[in-house]
Subunit: 425 residues, 2 copies
């Protein structure tokens, strides 16, 4: 395939005319395809339907004898702390299990820090013009929390091994108002990469001017392999303990994309000091989480092996969708030199990079042809992709044939927008 | 019965000696009775056991077609908004249904106001040295939220009709930093009184210096009648609308003491402006609540009538416990002129007032005889009862015979402490 930049202007114009005909055909079909949402498909959710019936009417007693129907148990049932601890490599005592949303735990952790500070710090983050590092592209809801609460965000480029430590290290060493970093360390949202050992080690070891610097380690895709092999990730709780920074990492996890997206179990894990601090604050916020749902999850999955078997069933359903995205991009866009895309081994997204300045046009064209894509820029703080090149593709929710059709249209839109840009040279 | 204050010192001393013998007998029994916790008893929780099995494995579709297993639905399923709206007298669209804890919704509402302010206000409450009015005695966890977040609390006396408006009106009219008031308007915690129409109307109508004054209306015991008749309560959403203050009330409710204390459903209701504001903030905090549990509750209770039938079953279980408390106090303490207690028609508590300066001694004596009572002062901001006279009794959790035994001991402790005080005259 010839790279488009090497094609003459007249040939490009001719190609553009052909593609415009195809595009008009798609438009005429009045399609409605939605590729925006990182949601499980209904047949993935079906895998956990027995959660609804795993407890008999008279089953409400936890391992330690707790009546799960009643108040109490601020940090969650022992068996569910053990289960989620096993998932993320944390001891049960270092895990706090909350409600159904890890986003809420992260949000509330930020809010607590804003109002009260964190252990080892010098008071409320609100009073310190706090800043956060944001590896980009990243998860829009992380960035939205910071923006909503007035925490300034600093972009950090992601590379194949994770966030660029060459950028991070001098920043955190020189500015005590930089209080944290958002990380999705495994099958990152949206690029799908898993942080290398070197990256995890440098994050654990680096000198920070802020004594209360925190790594928000959103391990949302910890068991979300698309293939039989996994991408290994160092245990940041352990690496930070080894480097004497055990209060640095805050690990978040949920079963949202394991059991039910809207009815799962979420948790946080950290050092004894951070866990004690979080429990103190939580004691003012609630009398305790929904322990019935915790018991359901414990009975349904039993242990990490049970979760892994379950995740293989998920993979069987969604792997073909990911492979369809990648194979259509390869077929339609391969060798043209106008885009790059990820071929993830896990997680929920494919990340597509156009040439600079094309992404929003692609999203617009796709929308006009009935394919809804995540807004260009959404994967960047403040919704601003400085290069206007990144597009997040979420292939799990729609049926395979819709994914295929949508990706053909997206590929066409990438070609159209890229050619138009080349024609303006 | 002769009032003890009219008994001679020598007779009092003799009586004290007799009572001390009784007290020593109780002590020798090494009892362990806990009257501190406003928790439902196991047989109350049993009433809702079918919540565990009300959904079949393939039941996950809400009335509007929503797949409740997946993400979304920030304000809750339509049917559960309708159900809880019916309970508190609010239209479904003015209800936001969250997780399992109304305390958490209240806490988060305070936190949002601290960080971002509320509609109609002049910015974050944090920057305005905000104060709250606290009718006393009241709910310790309300007060704890304020104390934890540095909101100054001002005591307001409760009388038989609710909080004393003669105290409240000049305070709120004269101080724009007074931003809110905590209210448990029906079967109040701990006094059991229900606010009169006049109190609700004056709260709705009163002039407040703060344009963003909010009534935190914790309607925790809205359907928690002990008898067939209920104590009517005006609908504050309506009265405030009539007085042109529709943004003033924030109504909170939960099924914690209807279904499962640890696995219920909680909600907030307010004006369109407040609901829109809360939803905007919530959208940064979570993708949505656990809708499966909402669907369970909707299927199990169906409507307000279903809830009322269910609450009659609760009443049958706990009414004898309340009646035991009151009848033992009447038998042991009646006419002695050393204490007053409530005879609630609903709710979860009996409130006992000793003579000033006696409550902590009563709690101490009871504790030493194996009866754990809520700490004296707990029903007041900062844990400080200025008169040291109020004790909250929570009779629901222990079995009836334990309640009876505990109350006999408490009555004895009241007598002991009171006589000791009289002997010091």
């Amino acid at each position: 395939m010839t790279e488009l930049r090497q094609v003459s202007q007249s040939e490009l114009a001719q190609l553009h005319t052909q593609l415009t005909v195809q595009y008009s055909d798609y438009k005429a079909r009045n399609l409605k395809l939605d590729m925006t949402r990182g949601k499980p498909a209904a047949n993935q959710l079906d895998l956990a339907n027995d959660l609804n019936v795993v407890l008999a009417a008279n089953e409400y007693t936890a391992q330690d004898g707790t009546d799960v129907r009643n108040y109490g148990g601020l940090d969650g049932l022992p068996e569910i702390r053990a289960l989620l601890g096993e998932v993320i490599g944390a001891s049960p005592s270092s895990v706090i299990v909350g409600g159904n949303s890890s986003l809420q735990i992260m949000h509330d952790t930020i809010v607590r820090a804003l109002l009260h500070g964190v252990p080892g710090g010098s008071g409320p983050w609100l009073a310190q013009k706090s800043k956060f590092l944001c590896p980009v592209p990243g998860y829009d809801r992380h960035f939205a929390i910071c923006q909503h609460h007035g925490i300034e965000m600093i972009n950090v480029p992601m590379n194949a091994e994770g966030p660029d430590l060459g950028v991070i290290e001098p920043l955190v060493a020189g500015d005590s108002s930089i209080k944290g970093i958002w990380c999705v360390p495994k099958y990152s949202n949206p690029t799908g990469i898993t942080y290398s050992n070197a990256v995890v080690e440098r994050l654990s070891r680096m000198q920070t001017a802020a004594p209360d610097f925190r790594i928000f380690w959103d391990n949302a895709y910890v068991v979300h392999d698309l293939y039989d092999s996994t991408s290994p990730l160092l245990n940041i709780l352990e690496t930070c303990k080894q480097t004497g920074n055990e209060n640095r990492p805050l690990v978040f996890v949920s079963t949202s994309k394991i059991s039910f997206a809207g009815g799962g179990i979420a948790a946080m894990a950290s050092s004894p000091v951070n866990v004690a601090d979080a429990k103190k604050h939580l004691s003012f916020q609630t009398i305790g989480p929904d322990k019935l749902n915790q018991l359901r999850h414990s009975r349904f999955f039993r242990n990490l092996a049970g979760i892994k078997v379950h995740m293989q069933k998920h993979a069987s359903i969604i792997r073909p969708k990911f492979e369809a995205v990648v194979s259509i991009f390869e077929r339609e866009l391969g060798g043209l030199g106008i885009s790059r895309w990820t071929n993830p081994r896990g997680g929920y997204f494919v990340s597509l990079d156009t040439e600079p300045g094309c992404a929003s046009q692609v999203v617009k064209y796709a929308d006009e042809a009935g394919v809804k894509l995540t807004a260009a820029g959404a994967t960047f703080p403040y919704g601003k992709d400085p290069d206007d090149c990144n597009i997040r593709i979420a292939p799990t929710l729609p049926p395979l044939e819709q994914v295929e059709l949508a990706m053909q249209i997206v590929a066409l839109c990438v070609k159209l927008a890229s050619i138009e840009r080349l024609l303006k040279r």
